[in-house]
Structure formats: structure tokens, C-alpha cells
């Protein structure tokens, strides 16, 4: 058994993982990041839009402050977030953005003078102030009172990830790419690292670490139509859930993005709508103002996605070989804007659709996009249930997004949480020593080697991992898609339970030698079905509608009974998660109220006097 030891093991080398890594390395600790792909290919790089931080430099951001950002975030979450965490996030935002500028991110800057901007498809002029020249500027994103989304052209995630990975290289952070954590090493109380499969050779290794961070991003790939990269299959959450003690929070809170292109499900940024893009139906009629007179296309993502689905259900979608879709229209933004400011969008349309967005409409439909849920941590990023285990970024349920996150808040979260959690990891490393129990290491290693050996020997059965995955795709989109109801969810849970059992009988059709891709999926498929069950079962039990979780049979947001966070654990041998609940937030800066968009009734929280 090859053993590698380090102070901090980051599972995942995207923005959140690397930001935590840099904090630890900067304080003198050794750090190894594991990554399925070279760090810079992490899905963070695909985030085009930007990062929200209340810098208030641009004219449309004047008067912005962390307080205003806080209100937007809590409203956006449909009061499902932890308000203490949301406060930490908004206060840390401006510092984190400036630090990124210091490290090398080429943020777009304020250009003084008169500019033509778009809001709701209509142009208007505004004058950027001379005294703000050269400071970090911002663009408009949905669900926000001010323009506060910092950006670098259409490649914010890319530019920030490249800067962070440069910094990581400078700090001596090791990245072991093409590796996959297949189990955590733990004794039920303390996490001691991970068992890792090398995706270059297929060999197993043990990584011993005093602190372990899960930063593997979202788990969108349990859905067939997802904007997520193919690596976003929830691997970090699976190994956490498999411990039986770590908890996954709010797994039913899954966000759909309004504008995935059809057929490839590649995301075109919300910046399109922020800059004035509009949504049209089969008659090329702009329908959003009918549903949302005030915000129209700029209402929050869950609202826009739902309204689009609602409109398509009325038969007003555009028929295609790949199912119904709607149109995104950015033609009126003009050549300079499309070719320059929205270049990635332009490239996506030309390269993957063969359409020119300057002259043609873009086929779009709501597509799975973001996982609000994840590994539940406290405000320090420390996982519930296991000492020495941390999480940050999309993989974590920290939880500033509640039941819906705002565009630009998640990308900002990666580096703000990375900065804050990184500080807490450093405190932990400085103050705690971990005892590595060789028995735990050996048992964890042997268990994984045994799984692989049995798989290669064909001892489990002959089920196809691909067939099970496809059946999971079919089931979860019907049961736990944009609109949900008790009947379909019940059916979905039952189907997934059967798939969970079948996934235990997977066999290989190929030889399974080396970095064999079939083996990788075979080792993971049961875990993916478990995540799907956490989503579907959590959604079935939550008999209300909140944020992205929309129950047709329970349309009200029920603050009386459901102002809570779902926590899921998985007991060994079970075929369903065990659900627990905790209050959504311990402190209230803003009591639950109306979001001002999305409609829907609210069953109020019972006040002290009411009881």
C-alpha cells in the first residue's frame, strides 16, 4: 500500500479547494489537492458570469453595501439560508475580490463617461463617475437590487481559477490530478484522509491527512440534462455519505438554469439576460413580463425556470427533435456587445449549434444547474459528524443559498468561503493533532481493494452501470425535476430503491485494467443512486414549496412547519437515507417575508405570542 501524508488534503482543486489550499500553504502547512482532472479544467473554469460583491463602484451599483447584498441573498434563498453564514459571506465579498485583483485577476474596470446599458431589453444611458475610474466594475444579474457582479469579460471563472492555480503553484501546493477519492478514512469520529484511485494507472493509494476538505463541486450529473461538467457526479458527497455519520443538507434544493442550450445543455450565461436579452416563445412573443411584470427575465433563476416550464406546458414552446424549448434573443444587443462582451456565448452558439446569435435566436430550456445542498458544515466549514472533515464551495451546504442561490453568489462563495474556511482549517491544523490509526487505514484500503477485486472477478453480477445510470436519469427528471408532486416523487423513490439494489450487482463488460472508465463508473454508480435518493426522498418529505423546490400539491411556502434544513445520513445496509431536520437559521436579521417575485402564498411562521 502506497501511503502519502500531508497536513491538508483537498478533494477537488477548483476555486474553493484551491482557495482553502492557498490559505493553509500560506501558513506553512503542507497541502495536496486531489483532482479528477488537471486543476485548471475544474468546472469552476466554466462559470462565465461573475462574482457578487458589494463594492458599489459602478454607477448602477451606487449605494450598494453588504447589507443590501445580504437582503438579496436571504430573499433569494427564500429564507432557507443560514443568516449568520449569509452575513459572513456578504461582509467577506469585497475583500475577497480585491485580494483576487492583487493576485492577478484582470477584473473589468470602471470606464468613466456615458455608457449605454440595457435593462429588461431597453437601452438607457448612465454616466460612470470620474473618481471611480479603474476600480472593479460590476454587471447586472438576476435577483439583485444593485449591479454588483464583478466579472472579466465572459470568462470570470476561468480567469479567477487560472490566477488561483498560479498562486497555488507559487505557494507549493501539490496537485495530484487524475485521481479520485473512493472512500474517506475514519473511525466514526475523526477523518484521517482518503483512499484514492489513480486515474492514470488504476492503482489505489492511501492519503493520510490531519484535515480533509471536500470541494468537489455539484452533483448535477445525476441528471441527464445538466449544465455541469461530466466530472460533477457528486464523488465527494458520496464518500462523505458512505461514512454513515457525515450529513448531507437540503439535497432536494436543486436549481435549474433557465438557459441551457438545446441539444447539448451547455449553459449560456445569465449575463445575456442581465445585459438585456429576452425570452421568446413559439410565436416569438416575449412572455416573461406577463408573469413577472416588474423583474421580467431578471427574476431569480427558480422563478424564470418555472415560468418557462409553465409557458411550455401551455403548448407555447418551440417543438424540436430534442423536445420543446424556448428562444433567447440577444440580437438587439448589437455586434460589438455580442462579439466582445458576450464572446463565450457567441462562441458556444457558433461552435455547438452552428447559429449566429447576432442574427438568429438561441434555443434554450431550463436545465439542471446548481446544487444548493451538499455536505452540511457549520459556519466554519467543519462537517457535521466527523472531526477533521471540512467542506467549501458548491459541494458544501454552508449554507448561504438556502433553497435558491442567486447567479454570481455561488462563484463568489467559492473564494469567500475558501478564504473563511481556509482560515478555520489553519486554526484547526495549528491547534489539533490527529492520530492516524493504522487499523482504520488498512481496513479502509482493504475494503476498497476488495470492491475492485470483486468487480474485476465478476463476483457481484452482470448489471450494466450505464443501464442503471440511464434508468436513474429517467426517474429523477420525472420525479424531482422543476415541478414536483407526491405521486411522481413516491414513484421515483421506489424506482431508485430498485436501482440502488441493482447497482450492487454491477459487472464489467471490459477487462477493467488500468485507468478503465467503466470501472470508474461501476465503483460510483451506487453512490450516485444514493445521492438521487437523498434528493427525491427529501423532496417527497418536504411538503411545501420553497425556492427551487416546487411542489404542485403543496404550493405554499410553509414557514410554520418547514423553515428547516433537511439533513440526510445513510446507514450501512439501508436503501433510503435517514432524514433529520434542523432550523434553517439560528439567528434572524430579516424575518421571513415575501420575496417580491415568484408569487405564491406563504403560511407564516408562528410567533411566540401565537403559541
Amino acid at each position: 500500500m502506497q501511503i502519502i501524508q500531508t497536513d491538508l488534503l483537498c478533494i477537488g482543486a477548483g476555486l474553493a479547494g484551491e482557495r482553502v489550499a492557498i490559505e493553509a500553504a500560506g501558513n506553512g502547512f503542507s497541502v495536496i489537492c486531489l483532482s479528477l482532472v488537471p486543476a485548471r479544467r475544474s468546472h469552476s473554469s466554466a462559470a462565465q458570469g461573475g462574482m457578487q460583491a458589494a463594492l458599489g463602484n459602478c454607477v448602477m451599483g451606487e449605494g450598494d453595501s453588504p447589507d443590501v447584498h445580504f437582503q438579496d441573498t436571504v430573499k433569494g434563498s427564500d429564507w432557507g439560508c443560514d443568516q449568520e453564514v449569509a452575513r459572513l459571506f456578504v461582509d467577506g465579498g469585497p475583500i475577497a475580490m480585491r485580494q483576487m485583483a492583487f493576485w492577478g485577476v484582470p477584473w473589468n474596470r470602471v470606464v468613466p463617461g456615458e455608457h449605454t446599458y440595457y435593462k429588461g431589453g431597453k437601452p438607457f444611458t448612465a454616466i460612470e463617475k470620474q473618481e471611480k475610474e479603474g476600480l472593479i466594475t460590476a454587471r447586472n444579474f438576476g435577483g439583485t437590487a444593485k449591479w454588483r457582479t464583478c466579472y472579466t469579460s465572459d470568462g470570470t471563472g476561468h480567469a479567477v481559477l487560472y490566477t488561483l492555480d498560479n498562486k497555488a503553484a507559487q505557494m507549493g501546493v501539490e496537485v495530484h490530478d487524475k485521481t479520485e477519492a473512493v472512500a474517506l478514512i475514519h473511525d466514526g469520529e475523526t477523518c484521517m484522509g482518503a483512499i484514492v484511485r489513480c486515474l492514470k494507472t488504476g492503482e489505489l493509494r492511501a492519503y493520510l491527512a490531519r484535515a480533509t476538505l471536500v470541494a468537489t463541486g455539484g452533483f448535477g450529473r445525476i441528471y441527464r440534462e445538466s449544465t455541469n461538467a461530466v466530472i460533477n457526479d457528486g464523488g465527494g458527497l458520496i464518500v462523505a455519505l458512505d461514512t454513515g455519520v457525515a450529513m448531507l443538507g437540503n439535497m432536494e434544493a436543486v436549481q435549474f438554469h433557465p438557459t441551457g442550450i438545446v441539444p447539448t445543455d451547455i449553459l449560456v450565461t445569465e449575463g445575456c439576460r442581465g445585459d438585456g436579452g429576452t425570452l421568446l416563445d413559439v410565436n416569438e412573443y416575449r412572455f416573461m413580463p406577463d408573469y413577472e411584470p416588474e423583474k421580467a427575465e431578471l427574476a431569480s433563476r427558480d422563478v424564470v425556470s418555472r415560468r418557462m416550464t409553465e409557458h411550455m406546458r401551455k403548448g407555447l414552446g418551440v417543438k424540436s427533435a430534442y423536445g420543446d424549448h424556448l428562444w433567447l434573443d440577444i440580437r438587439h444587443l448589437g455586434e460589438k456587445h455580442i462579439r466582445h462582451n458576450l464572446r463565450e456565448v457567441d462562441e458556444i452558439c457558433q461552435s455547438f449549434l452552428g447559429r449566429d446569435p447576432l442574427y438568429q435566436l438561441i434555443p434554450v430550456r431550463p436545465t439542471q444547474h446548481y446544487s444548493m445542498g451538499g455536505l452540511r458544515t457549520n459556519k466554519d466549514g467543519a462537517a457535521y459528524g466527523l472531526k477533521g472533515l471540512f467542506s467549501a464551495g458548491e459541494a458544501a451546504c454552508w449554507d448561504m443559498h438556502g433553497f435558491n442561490r442567486l447567479g454570481g453568489n455561488s462563484l463568489a462563495e467559492t473564494i469567500v468561503a475558501g478564504m473563511i474556511v481556509g482560515g478555520k482549517v489553519v486554526e484547526f491544523l495549528a491547534g489539533t493533532d490527529t492520530v492516524f490509526k493504522t487499523k482504520c487505514v488498512r481496513e479502509a484500503f482493504d475494503a476498497q481493494q476488495g470492491r475492485i477485486d470483486r468487480l474485476l472477478a465478476g463476483q457481484n453480477g452482470a448489471e450494466s452501470a450505464y443501464a442503471i445510470r440511464d434508468a436513474m436519469f429517467d426517474s429523477i427528471m420525472v420525479g424531482a425535476g422543476i415541478f414536483r408532486n407526491g405521486r411522481d416523487l413516491d414513484e421515483c423513490v421506489k424506482t431508485l430503491q430498485v436501482l440502488h439494489e441493482r447497482a450492487g450487482r454491477v459487472g464489467l463488460r471490459s477487462d477493467g485494467l488500468g485507468a478503465n472508465p467503466e470501472q470508474a463508473l461501476a465503483l460510483k454508480i451506487q453512490g450516485m443512486v444514493k445521492l438521487a435518493l437523498c434528493v427525491a426522498y427529501g423532496a417527497l418529505m418536504r411538503t411545501e414549496s420553497r425556492g427551487a423546490h416546487t411542489r404542485e400539491d403543496f404550493p405554499e411556502r410553509n414557514d410554520r412547519d418547514w423553515l428547516s434544513r433537511t439533513l440526510a445520513t445513510w446507514k450501512d445496509g439501508a436503501d433510503l437515507p435517514t432524514l433529520h431536520y434542523e432550523p434553517a437559521t439560528q439567528t434572524f436579521e430579516i424575518p421571513p417575508g415575501d420575496r417580491g417575485y415568484g408569487g405564491g402564498k406563504i403560511i407564516p411562521m408562528q410567533t411566540e405570542q401565537g403559541r
Partner: protein, 250 residues
């Protein structure tokens, strides 16, 4: 009429002692809007689950899926089958270490490159969390981003004649990286310090000027211009020390 595509794909698994490098043929019915991402996944799932290849974002952003498509390095996710003849040959990128079939190890080479060119902002300042950010002209920010758009797919190095002959050659990607920091005022490195990094045959002076790098760059980064700019600067830096003092322009 839908075509039946014929794929000739390089197969070799270095972890299997019985494996011999060879080309294997697969047939696949073409569907609308098919890209190599869709085609290769269908081949793996329907015909040959051992087939190794790399995709990540499948949207032309991450650079994972570079391979040699009908003789030319490019991103597989970007490649629409309707733009291709009915027979498509796929090979792994040369230059990088083979993992298996179409999958190569770009990560190790690139991490080595970051260290060689010290791919980070060199500054004597420390970050002050209470201070306003340093101002920057928006045009300059956009110029830096232009060069930061590289996705490290490896196509430019795989297509480079010099790199294939001289394994220590930095390649267009590294020279572009140096150019990116050279125009960034936050990086305090002097011309002399840059010269130490790229002013040799492993750097700007090794390039034979074949310029395939720019031809194959999927992001259309003006690699040729960066090379030219660096060469001029480095050549000047090299002779400056030799000139009599009154001729030097510092």
C-alpha cells in the same frame, strides 16, 4: 440521409501487458448536431466500455479533450461531425505522456511549466484587506484577459515541430504566459529576469517559425504576435549589455 460514420481510433492500454498499439475501427450512425463528444461517448457506452478519452466541460472551455482529429490537433467537443468526412481518425496528442487510448497526461507537463516560467504575479507588496484595490485601466485589464484566455489544452505544443525535437522547449503556451505577465503592471519582474526565463533556445530563440501553434489554437490566441514581441524584447535585452553606455536606452 443520415451517414454511417467510420471511426479509426488509436487503442493502447499501457497497463495491460497484452495490449498492443493499434488502430481500431468503429461504425456509428450520425445524428443531428453530433459532436465528437456525443460520438465517443456513444461508442464507449454502446460498443467498447474500455475506451479511454478525456472530456470535462464538453463546452470548449476547459481544454480536456484535445486530440488529433484527422491529423490535426483540436478539441473533440468543438468538432461537429457534419463538418467532417465520413471517415474520422482519432489519435492521442503527441508530446504528452500517454495514459491510454486517446487520454494523455497534460497536467504533469503544465505544472512543470508553471514552475519554469514562474507563472504568477511577482510582487514585493503585501495585500492590505482594508485598502481599496489598485486601479487599472479597463483596456489594459482586457488586454491581459486576452492572453489569459489560454485553456492549456496542449494543442500548440502537440503541433510544434521544435517541441517534438527538443523536449525542454517551453512552447507557445509558456511564451504566451510570459507575455501575459510582462504586460501586467502588477508583476514587478524586470526584463532581465524575463530574459533568464525565456531568452534561450528552450524559449523564444528555439522557435523555428513554423507557427502551427497559432493555426491549431482553439481559442484563436495571437501566439505569433506574442512570440514576436518577446523576441524583440529579449533580443534587445541581450544586446543592451554589449552596447556602449551612450547607446543604451534603459
Amino acid at each position: 440521409m443520415a451517414r454511417t460514420l467510420r471511426f479509426n481510433i488509436f487503442r493502447y492500454n499501457p497497463r495491460n501487458p497484452a495490449s498492443v498499439a493499434h488502430m481500431r475501427e468503429y461504425s456509428l450512425g450520425e445524428t443531428e448536431s453530433m459532436t465528437l463528444f456525443i460520438a465517443l461517448n456513444r461508442i464507449r457506452e454502446e460498443q467498447d466500455p474500455s475506451l479511454q478519452f478525456d472530456f470535462c466541460c464538453r463546452a470548449g472551455i476547459c481544454g480536456a479533450c484535445a486530440m488529433v482529429v484527422n491529423g490535426k490537433p483540436g478539441l473533440a467537443c468543438h468538432t461537429k461531425t457534419k463538418d467532417m468526412p465520413g471517415e474520422i481518425s482519432l489519435m492521442p496528442l503527441p508530446f504528452f505522456k500517454l495514459v491510454g487510448d486517446l487520454s494523455v497526461d497534460t497536467g504533469s507537463w503544465f505544472r512543470g511549466m508553471y514552475q519554469k516560467v514562474e507563472s504568477w504575479v511577482h510582487t514585493s507588496k503585501t495585500f492590505d484587506p482594508a485598502a481599496e484595490e489598485e486601479r487599472m485601466d479597463n483596456e489594459l485589464a482586457e488586454k491581459i484577459y486576452e492572453l489569459d484566455r489560454c485553456i492549456e489544452c496542449g494543442c500548440c505544443v502537440a503541433a510544434c515541430g521544435t517541441a517534438l525535437m527538443r523536449e525542454d522547449f517551453l512552447g507557445a503556451v509558456a511564451l504566451n504566459r510570459v507575455a501575459r505577465f510582462l504586460i501586467d503592471p502588477r508583476d514587478e519582474r524586470t526584463e532581465k529576469e524575463y530574459f533568464d526565463v525565456v531568452g534561450s533556445d528552450d524559449g523564444v530563440f528555439g522557435c523555428m517559425g513554423l507557427l502551427a501553434c497559432e493555426d491549431v489554437c482553439p481559442k484563436d490566441i495571437p501566439l505569433q504576435d506574442q512570440l514576436g514581441m518577446l523576441r524583440r524584447k529579449m533580443a534587445l535585452a541581450a544586446v543592451r549589455g554589449m552596447l556602449p553606455k551612450f547607446l543604451r536606452k534603459d
